[in-house]
């Protein structure tokens, strides 16, 4: 029989083994794409002098794995794009799967002290850690996605995902037979409510008969539950669905039941070739390109950016060939208007669920109204969970 000491050694060994595999599998991975950095790297910490010869070091911090087929995948596509655009003028690094909170601060601090001069953080929860690190590295430019706090060396940027939802709504309004649309929703925050409203308004712009309902799954990522929510709505007669969650499960459910749905954040057509009407995607390249250029030129300024179709940051792509020509045309027309910068999505007269006018005719919703949206427009059924 094994003695006690040996047994506990074995146990400890097993745990160490398991946790080391965990670390390899889930830990962060830093991948420096450009070959050998010039020997000047250590200088970065010792002097903040004028940009020395050698590439601008740009770093990205991601919340998810680059292979998530959604949010992080789209950001990493942007990173690869600027790498191609700027060639050897820049050198990019990314760290994936960094949880929101204290660990993020360590990662930002590490990247800043390794000589990265421009650092992007791509999730809301990085706001506070980034703000702290920004104070300690005044010569490093920080860029935070989807937050609201800025600093002299920290900007925020976001994309108008609701414009993509609106364009999807146009296709949905033209495609639906039951006039019932559905949204698989994550959490009742202004961003998601805005997207539900925009989807509904897009559909109503071509088909006044439609109504929308939302089912909340209380998660950004739970494929089985997203599927159940989609199936529930399909069972209740919904025949076009969109999701404001991260997995393609909604699209798969639609494929299985012979109804329609969309891709969100990235092109998801592979998950439901028949059901897929189009994908509302985010293209981060234009913003990343502009930002890198401004740092290279020395013209970078702290600020807030909210880009959409006009700046080529939002698009509806890969429209299914089965979509009728007139529906496609209606969508393209709206897209052209958005590209001209017309605020057609939340424009008066805008009426909320109870029939109260929230925006008179001729007026446009301002940023404050958009960023704090907490009402459903007319045509959305049910109530926002409190």
């Amino acid at each position: 029989m094994l003695d006690l000491k040996k047994r506990s050694t074995l146990k400890a060994g097993l745990l160490v083994f398991a946790s080391s595999v965990m670390l390899t599998a889930c830990g962060e991975k830093t991948e420096t794409k450009t070959a050998a950095a010039p020997a000047a790297t250590p200088a970065a910490t010792t002097t903040a002098a004028a940009p020395a010869a050698g590439p601008l070091k740009v770093a990205f911090v991601y919340i998810g794995p680059v292979g998530d087929a959604g949010w992080t995948f789209a950001h990493d596509k942007g990173r690869k794009a600027i790498e191609a655009d700027f060639g050897d003028k820049i050198q990019t690094t990314f760290v994936e799967k960094v949880p929101e909170g204290a660990d993020a601060e360590r990662v930002f601090r590490d990247l800043a002290s390794q000589g990265n001069k421009l650092i992007f953080g791509t999730t809301f929860g990085y706001m506070e850690p980034m703000l702290k690190v920004a104070k300690d590295f005044p010569d490093v430019k920080f860029e935070h996605a989807t937050g609201y706090k800025t600093a002299p060396n920290m900007s925020v940027y976001e994309t108008k995902t609701y414009e993509g939802a609106y364009l999807a709504g146009v296709l949905a309004g033209k495609t639906t037979k039951t006039n019932k649309l559905g949204v698989v929703a994550s959490f009742p925050i202004p961003e998601v409510i805005r997207n539900i409203n925009a989807f509904t308004l897009g559909a109503q712009s071509v088909n006044p008969e439609v109504s929308t309902r939302a089912v909340w799954v209380s998660s950004w990522f739970d494929p089985a539950k997203e599927r159940d929510a989609a199936m529930t709505m399909i069972g209740q007669g919904v025949d076009v669905l969109i999701q404001n969650t991260d997995s393609p499960a909604t699209l798969q459910a639609a494929e299985e039941k012979g109804v329609h749905a969309f891709g969100w954040d990235s092109d998801m057509s592979a998950f439901g070739p028949k059901a897929h009407l189009g994908s509302a995607i985010i293209n981060w390249e234009p913003y990343y390109k502009k930002t890198v250029q401004s740092v290279l030129d020395g013209t970078w300024k702290s600020g807030q950016t909210w880009w959409g179709v006009k700046e080529n940051s939002i698009d509806l792509v890969n429209v299914n060939p089965s979509v009728p020509e007139d529906a496609k045309k209606a969508m393209e027309e709206k897209k052209a208007q958005l590209a001209e910068g017309k605020a057609i999505v939340f424009a008066g007269p805008l009426v909320d669920q109870s029939g109260k006018e929230v925006l008179p005719a001729g007026k446009e919703a301002d940023v404050a109204m958009l960023k704090s949206m907490n009402f459903y427009v007319k045509g959305v059924e049910g109530s926002i969970p409190k």
Partner: protein, 310 residues
């Protein structure tokens, strides 16, 4: 009334579908526990099986091979656990927890090239029967694995109560010393039970990755292994009660989603808690009656048995 039935049919069908992976995993864990071994690694085994099944099906196009690979993957993970627990006498709780963490990490690592891929969604309906109004869509429009799970339940109920091997298995879980003294190889009996548990958890994991949401995503079981573990206690280690419990747990989720779709306002956070709340309530209820639980809980559950020391 008609519209009510029209809404009820898909909800009931979805409940059966949602309950199936819970059932499959819980059957395996039930046999596992009846032999006296508690394997907390269900979540890890399911994830390993999910990626194994997904990889094989996406390479071969065959769902049957995918399920076989899932069962084998689950068994491999279970064998690892069994060697640690049965031969090296490590603590069952710690080893099981390690397996659940290890399985999550390993599957995430192996699964990297498979994220973003999809399998063809397939609809399966039994001809003729699925055309019966109401009953057809509720009962006869499922994946074959749903029916296999029910057959498995009937076989298990018979095996545990009416077969000699079943009695020997239970003896190993009640009093391994007595079984050993009677000349049974307790170690091998437990090894077989643990492997069976792994295979069933494997089928459950493969069901998620091949049928329920035909894709691979890291951590996609999202707690179903733990619910299956709770389910065995909930069911007092009786196969038919496992079915009832699985349908109840699956049904709670489906019910809350359906209420939302109908526009009935219930706070989403409360509804998201419901399955777990139901588990706690049932656990509290059955623990209040110690005789109930003692009648069925394997007396040596979680206790290691070393034949060399007996």
């Amino acid at each position: 009334m008609d519209t009510f039935l029209l809404l009820l049919a898909p909800a009931l069908a979805a409940t059966i579908n949602a309950g199936t992976p819970l059932m499959l995993a819980a059957f395996g864990l039930l046999v596992n526990e009846k032999s006296g071994v508690l394997n907390l690694g269900a979540e890890g085994m399911m994830l390993v099986a999910a990626i194994a099944g997904f990889a094989v099906t996406s390479a071969t196009g065959s769902a049957t091979l995918g399920f076989a690979a899932g069962a084998l993957g689950g068994m491999a993970a279970a064998a690892f656990f069994a060697v640690m627990v049965l031969w090296l006498n490590t603590n069952q709780y710690a080893t099981g927890l390690a397996l659940s963490i290890f399985g999550a990490g390993l599957s995430a690592f192996v699964g990297i090239p498979y994220t973003g891929m999809s399998l063809k969604a397939s609809s399966t309906a039994i001809p003729v029967l699925s055309k019966i109004p109401f009953i057809g869509p509720v009962l006869f429009n499922h994946h074959p694995m749903v029916y296999i799970a029910l057959v498995l339940c009937a076989s298990l109920a018979w095996f545990l109560n009416h077969s000699r091997t079943g009695l020997v298995l239970k003896a190993a879980g009640e009093s391994p010393e007595s079984a050993h003294a009677l000349g049974y190889n307790v170690r091998m009996i437990r090894f077989a039970a643990v492997l069976f548990g792994g295979a069933c958890c494997g089928l459950a994991g493969a069901y998620l990755a091949l049928v329920y949401t035909p894709m691979w995503q890291e951590g996609m079981t999202s707690g179903k292994g733990w619910i299956a573990l709770a389910l065995t206690t909930f069911a007092c280690w009786k196969p038919w009660r496992v079915v009832a419990g699985a349908l109840l747990f699956g049904g709670v989720t489906i019910l809350q989603l359906n209420l939302q779709g109908l526009g009935i306002a219930v706070p989403s956070q409360i509804m998201a808690m419901l399955p777990y709340l139901a588990t706690i309530v049932v656990l509290a209820l059955i623990s209040r009656n110690p005789d109930w639980i003692r009648l069925n809980i394997p007396a040596s559950l979680g206790r290691n048995f070393n034949p060399n020391a007996a």
